[in-house]
């Protein structure tokens, strides 16, 4: 029996390494070849035990969904359009995959944009919060999403076209 265990372990190891390797490939590929969309966000601080220090994000498009006047909660796929201001909008949500550009919901029950948090160095995150607390209205932060089929990766969080990491260091 023990003789069988080693080959089984080797197979398991291959699978276990294959999964993160595929995840990395998928994300890097999306970052390189995915379509680029800018989503305006609000930033608020959060700290989660086991999750580390990060800034929590709320896309303004998501906030629009939360208002009762908008009846576009339902549907797994959100059809993306780009507004005149250059920021992406969700024109409509549908239950079946649309033919054009779309973004897949990160939640089962209702449409939710996969923009929730942005991991930062633990010393920078609280600084970002206080920075935005003072002048969030003027700063207009946004994230750039890379979207390819069902895959979405956050390329970066920006304020005034400067990556948040560099912006905080400058500050």
């Amino acid at each position: 029996m023990k003789k069988l265990l080693l080959p089984l372990l080797i197979v398991l190891i291959i699978f276990q390494l294959g999964v993160p390797a595929y995840l990395v490939y998928e994300k890097v590929d999306t970052l390189k070849t995915g379509a680029e969309y800018k989503f305006e966000v609000e930033i608020y601080d959060a700290y989660g035990a086991g999750k580390g220090q990060y800034v929590s994000l709320m896309a303004l498009e998501q906030r629009r969904f939360y208002s009762y006047s908008e009846n576009i909660f339902d549907g797994k796929y959100g059809i993306i359009t780009t507004g005149e201001d250059g920021f992406a909008k969700i024109a409509q949500t549908v239950k079946t995959k649309p033919s054009g550009a779309y973004i897949t919901s990160s939640s089962n029950g209702y449409f939710e944009l996969p923009i929730g948090r942005y991991y930062l160095d633990k010393d920078l995150a609280p600084g970002v919060q206080s920075l935005l607390f003072e002048g969030q209205q003027k700063l207009r932060p946004y994230v750039i999403l890379r979207v390819k089929n069902d895959k979405v990766v956050i390329q970066g969080l920006y304020i005034d076209d400067v990556r948040i990491e560099d912006y905080t260091v400058q500050d």
């Binding site: 029996m1 023990k2 003789k3 265990l5 080693l6 089984l8 372990l9 398991l12 190891i13 699978f15 276990q16 390494l17 999964v19 993160p20 995840l23 990395v24 994300k27 970052l31 580390g52 990160s106 939640s107 089962n108 029950g109 939710e112 996969p114 923009i115 929730g116 948090r117 942005y118 991991y119 930062l120 160095d121 633990k122 920078l124 990766v153 956050i154 990491e165």
Partner: protein, 436 residues
Amino acid sequence: MNKKWLLKEIELWREEEIIDSDSAETLQNRYSAKSSSGTLTIIFSILGSLLIGTGIILIFAKNWYLMPRGIKIFLSIFPLLAGQGLAIFTLIKKYSSLAIREGVAIFYTAGVFTAIAMISQTFHLTYDFERYLLLCGLLTLPIIFILDAVSPLAVYFYAVVNWGALAMDGSYSPMNTFLFLLLFGLGLLYVFVNRKKVDDIRHIYTLWISVVAGFAVTLVFTFGLSLDGADVFLVCLVFFTMLFAVDKNRDDFLLPFKPLSVLGGLIIMMILSYGWMFDPYAYDYYGTTGTSMSVWLATIIALTMVASLFLGYKHYRKDKGKFLFLIAMLSTCVLLMAWSVTQTNGFLYTILINLITGAVGVGIIVRGVQSAELSVTNLGMLVTVGLILMRFFDEDMDVFWRGVAFLILGGLFLFINFRIIKKRKQVLNVEEAAVV
């Protein structure tokens, strides 16, 4: 005798199939008892491995932000690589050491969870916690079987139950239900395969966590099926009834079946005694009327109750007190089922459940007194006094009727007391007559 030589010989006997793996393990445990199989050694080994794993992650976290993505990815999978390396080493060189196997298994499991989480963090991936849990659970399960280690089982059950809760939240899907049961069943398979090793504390542990996970799975199902309050309690009570019935009437509390089923059953009966569960208006408020159970669920519940009665009779037919407790739980299940279908006469159901719970409390006290077991007497007192206190402060019941109920109960207690004293005197008289 040289222990090292003997242990090597045992390993050879196993490889040459002179003895089977179980016998080899028993012999190896016996002759290396002090060095590897002590419970404390295993616990320290698990804790030590967890701390080392966490320490490595924390060291990586320092300057994480400054690192290029390539290094981040390598560091993310480093704990996994370390766990895999240690697992190979353990399999080849140290398989006979329980402490090493358990320690490596939990470190390896932490490596799996860490690698996937840190890669997600590197790409700022949000949520998708559901997929993460499923993935990590599936990648962890084989570690339990290959290293024959129980330490990752609790983590595996945690991942499966949480995944199930997220996947079935508000949306019933036959595929997810099947997968949920399959994944839970695969964890149970390890416990089942090792079911005869009751002298091994590790397997007692697996039984406890399996029962706790089983209850969590039951709860997830009730939420997934969007059951109403009374039906949720019915499913939970049927679970505890079955758990009580499968116990082979052991005298100790080593296995989880009896202690957890008695505790769970009593808590549910106490909650039901309030009666708000039998108020159809509570359900009207949410816009639902009638039972929330489907026919197939009702059939499964009925079959489980019949199986509980059968098993309970088999195990407790010579122990009237315990058999009556099973009957009390089953009667409460029947009442819940009947109410779920009719949804009328809530007051009558409340009275009946109070009577059953009260009888159970008094029954436990009597059993404790008769067997001179203080813990049993105290449990009975807790249930009875708890029930009295709950009714005393029950604002849904009219003060006058509360008073009448208390008078009747008080009279009943005094009557029972009178009968016990009378019986004791009779026994004393018989004993004295026998001495004379």
